[in-house]
């Protein structure tokens, strides 16, 4: 199978769905680029090149550059979704949700319920999350817990190129509003990705590694860090069951609970801020529903309760590292923690 980057996988998903269904449109800032400029069209294709090439194939009526106007973008996408299009709107950085959140959480997310089931809002909002590029406090947040908190939204966090393509196609075909969160540190990562279209259902976890000693749950860019930790631990004979639920809402509760029932130990690793975060959400789930099987305190590995710092050394310390994850696993197993 051909190896492709996460960026390419996402681009292919968009391309295949636009080819398949003319109601699919892409809208956002510089999703093509060059509108009103003196140079080339498609000059950007998204600020990190993810939508490159689409405008050439589908034209500016379906690949729509906008002013810097996130409320209008999200609102227009929501309004278009409820009247017959299937928009894929881009919120360039998830950090910008503060200037458009109403259209997402009070409008799109609630239409169906408020209107007694009559509305369908097949809207996808693609956005970029995460730290690691020294983009500082307003361009490095994760914020997926905020979307996960909102009833009416589905939240997708692909950790690799293969999942990104299948989950995005699923998102576009889905009839509910979906928040599709791409980690900016993953765009260059590669995986085997089929050329043809395929879907991955929401709410079905992937078991990245299987093991009976400790259950580790992680999403998005944290999966690779957990995998690195698991690989190290394996050398010491510690078998980690690494679960990537892939979507936070719906969440594959069964996969997590069944695993913990077997291992009796849970480490949740998440890049979001800790308070009312996703790590806490999953820890609480297990503390309520698999308590009897727990053999040790649950451990959460997250950033501290601080904004994301700019300086690279501080940012590195901010993010959960493979070392911290491994240490948490060992602590859960009652071993003396080497570092931290």
């Amino acid at each position: 199978m051909p190896r492709k980057t996460y960026r390419q996988a996402i681009n292919e998903a968009l391309d295949s769905e636009m080819a398949r269904d003319e109601n699919v449109i892409v809208i956002g800032e510089d999703v093509a680029g060059g509108a009103g400029g003196s140079g080339e069209d498609d000059a950007y294709g998204g600020v990190l090149g993810v939508t490159k090439g689409l405008v050439g194939k589908y034209g500016r009526t379906r690949v729509i550059d906008t002013p810097i106007t996130e409320s209008a973008i999200m609102g227009a996408a929501a309004g278009a979704a409820s009247t017959g299009l299937r928009p894929v709107a881009e919120l360039m950085f998830v950090d910008f949700l503060g200037v458009c959140f109403d259209q997402i959480f009070n409008q799109a997310a609630k239409f169906r319920y408020m209107f007694g089931g009559k509305a369908r809002t097949p809207l996808v909002i693609r956005s970029m999350i995460g730290a690691g590029l020294s983009a500082a406090a307003q361009h490095s947040q994760a914020l997926h817990p905020i979307f996960t908190h909102i009833p009416g939204l589905k939240v997708v966090m692909p950790s690799n190129a293969y999942d990104a393509k299948g989950l995005l196609i699923q998102a576009i075909r889905d009839d509910d509003p979906v928040i599709f969160l791409e980690h900016k540190a993953l765009y260059e990562t590669q995986a085997e990705v089929p050329d043809e279209a395929y879907t991955i259902p929401f709410g079905e976890a992937e078991f990245v590694t299987e093991g009976d000693d400790v259950t580790v749950v992680a999403f998005s860019a944290m999966v690779a860090r957990c995998k690195a930790a698991a690989d190290t631990l394996e050398k010491d004979g510690i078998e980690v069951e690494l679960i990537d639920p892939r979507t936070t809402s719906p969440l594959d509760e069964d996969a997590i609970l069944e695993s913990v029932e077997r291992t009796g130990r849970l480490v949740v690793v998440d890049e979001g801020s800790p308070r009312c975060g996703l790590a806490a959400d999953i820890a609480a789930l297990v503390a309520c529903k698999a308590f009897a099987h727990l053999k040790a305190p649950i451990a959460m590995v997250t950033p501290p309760h601080t904004p994301v710092p700019f300086a690279p050394n501080l940012e590195a310390a901010y993010l959960p590292s493979a070392e911290r994850i491994a240490a948490a696993v060992r602590a859960t197993l009652g071993e003396t923690v080497p570092a931290e």
């Binding site: 449109i25 809208i27 009526t61 379906r62 729509i64 906008t66 002013p67 106007t69 409320s71 209008a72 973008i73 999200m74 609102g75 227009a76 996408a77 929501a78 309004g79 278009a80 979704a81 409820s82 009247t83 017959g84 299009l85 928009p87 109403d102 259209q103 009070n106 409008q107 239409f111 169906r112 319920y113 408020m114 209107f115 007694g116 089931g117 009559k118 509305a119 369908r120 009833p151 009416g152 589905k154 889905d174 009839d175 509910d176 709410g203 719906p250």
Partner: protein
Amino acid sequence: MQLDRPTLIEAYRRMRLIREFEDNVQAQFEQGRIPGFVHLYAGQEASAVGVCLHLSDEDYIGSTHRGHGHCIAKGCDVTGMMKEIFGREGGLCRGKGGSMHIADLDKGMLGANAIVGGNPPLVVGAALTLKTKRLPHVAVSFTGDGGSNQGTTFEAMNLAVVLNLPAIFVFENNGYGEGTGVSYAVGADSIAGRAAGFGMPATAVDGRDFFAVFEAARDAIERARTGGGPSAIEVTCMRQHGHFIGDAQAYRSREELERVRADDPLRIFRDRVTADGRLDPGDLDTVDTECAAAIAEAIHAAENAPVPAEDELTTDVYVSY
């Protein structure tokens, strides 16, 4: 402009139906039979009807917290509406939305909206659908004078101009956003003038005069249908009641409240069409009677409808989950 008799009757019928609806909602609310917050549209009927009379079910409107009038003008069923406002089964939103969220997508009514400035971006989206699908319809946003100051509204206007969409922004300037006067809250000389600054045709009309609204709306809608892009209309009108039912309205002088009663758009309409002989008072009286009966029936149906089944609590959050 000469409107034919059936159109005149229909215009009056919708305005009267709104008034009758609102009068009854007020009475029911005051008897404690309607839960929640309710904002009455009485006094502004010529705006909703003057605009919506040009629209079919394929055209879209987006509304506000003060949405009953827009719903009725757009053809929503008053019984379904009343049940909704009572929070009952069979309501347009199965009792889950209430007064501030009545919607009927089949009628092109995209919903009342409890967020001031909430609907303009959505209406731009509906207009985008129409343009993308090359349909000859339009999308109309109703917003208040207060809502005209919200960032979302400004953004929606700019995006509609940039994408040349068939969107019409109707600003119902009833003088107040809650208890704050428009002369204070709008820094510009006029809402229409500020909208014109965004690069679209904008006019201001007297919203007590159905005919003035009707004509301005016709021009804007015609322009939008034929690819001419968005327009704005500032409709100056008067809110007959408080901001919400129960508002003591201390911020309005006695003189102003008297003027409000005097400047009733229904009375103005009636006087005008009967004075020049286009309609008989009797025709209008018949409409009055029919509307009163329709609303009485709606109230009766709503009162007697069961409350939603408790399992409705968790249904229709998602299409699938």
